[in-house]
């Protein structure tokens, strides 16, 4: 091959090589985007479908666990003597230490029914919200708000009152994943009913307050006068930036009369 022919061949080959390199880069980029797309689609399917499937499967097992838990739950009577002046009841247990109201008060002692504290991770309550389609038939609530507890959908915050008891019972739940029990919580309005079944019976609450707060605002979990139920979930939907908080007050239940008298 003469020099001229060699130069001519190089001139033809150089752009072809450049094109091949560019093609390889394009090919690599194309596959990268396809993999990223598949991974993103997988993430969406996992979060919206697979986690919910797991949570719904767990619900049937939790229903059985809850019934067994109710049978084992110890219910004790606490005697409460309503105070005529201050409005605060004084209480004691049913072993003879009760009925310790201040001298001179003639109010009739009342019996507050108290259930034993459930173990962490155990289903112990069923929450029903007739207005919300997802919660019309009820959703099992477990004790605890650890990641593993909330994989079942909704969990009761330890340290807060149990539903149906005086104070503030806090229940947290997922909004977009793991069964999304509180997905439609924003559809609740003041006056709507929330029912909670426990070993004691059914306690009915009425929505009084709705708040949107930062995840660090602990005041929503603090004890309150009377008996309250506070539901918390992530807000807005598909974001964990804030919390949507619904506060409801007890209007009917096994302890309603006693709690009203204690106010």
């Amino acid at each position: 091959m003469t020099d001229a022919e060699t130069q001519q061949a190089s001139a033809i080959a150089a752009p072809a090589l450049r094109d091949r390199g560019a093609l390889r880069v394009l090919h690599g980029l194309g596959w990268t985007f396809i993999y990223l797309g598949v991974l993103t689609l997988g993430f969406v399917v996992h979060q919206l479908v697979i986690t919910t499937w797991f949570a719904q499967q767990a619900q049937s097992e939790l229903a059985l666990e809850r019934v067994a838990q109710w049978e084992q739950t110890e219910i004790s009577d606490v005697v409460v003597v309503p105070s005529a002046e201050s409005g605060n009841g004084e209480s004691g247990n049913d072993s003879g230490q009760g009925e310790t109201g201040s001298a001179g008060r003639s109010a009739t002692p009342l019996i507050l029914k108290v259930e034993s504290q459930p173990e962490l991770g155990t289903a112990f309550a069923l929450i029903r919200i007739p207005k919300l389609e997802r919660l019309r038939d009820g959703w099992n609530v477990v004790e605890g708000v650890r990641v593993v507890d909330l994989r079942n959908g909704a969990g009761h915050m330890p340290g807060t009152a149990l539903p149906g008891q005086p104070g503030n019972a806090v229940i947290s739940g997922h909004r977009t994943t793991w069964g999304q029990p509180f997905h439609e919580l924003n559809e609740l309005d003041p006056g709507d009913r929330i029912e909670v079944d426990t070993a004691l019976g059914t306690s009915i609450y009425e929505v009084r307050e709705i708040h949107v707060v930062a995840p660090t605002e602990l005041w929503v979990t603090e004890p309150r006068e009377g008996a309250w139920l506070t539901l918390t979930t992530c807000h807005p939907k598909f974001s964990a930036r804030q919390r949507y908080v619904v506060m409801a007050e007890l209007v009917f239940g096994p302890n309603y009369d006693v709690i009203e008298a204690m106010k």
């Binding site: 596959w31 993999y35 997988g42 993430f43 996992h46 979060q47 697979i50 986690t51 708000v145 990641v147 909330l150 969990g155 915050m157 806090v170 947290s172 739940g173 997922h174 909004r175 977009t176 994943t177 793991w178 509180f182 707060v213 995840p215 660090t216 605002e217 602990l218 929503v220 979990t221 918390t232 979930t233 992530c234 598909f238 974001s239 964990a240 919390r243 949507y244 908080v245």
Partner: protein, 50 residues
């Protein structure tokens, strides 16, 4: 990429099939935990306060 990994697997066909199944299961479990972690931080923390 899947073909390339398949070609890299050592041993006869039956051994490669077993290895492929094990690798797939490990990959899916790892992906599940990764998605779970990502979802917890991006989408939904379970609504807990504090």
């Amino acid at each position: 990429m899947i073909k390339r990994i398949w070609r890299l697997l050592p041993g006869p066909l039956s051994v490669r099939v077993v290895q492929a199944v094990v690798l797939t299961v490990v990959f899916l479990v790892a992906l599940h935990f990764f998605y779970d972690w990502l979802g917890k931080w991006l989408l939904d923390q379970g609504g807990t306060v504090g």
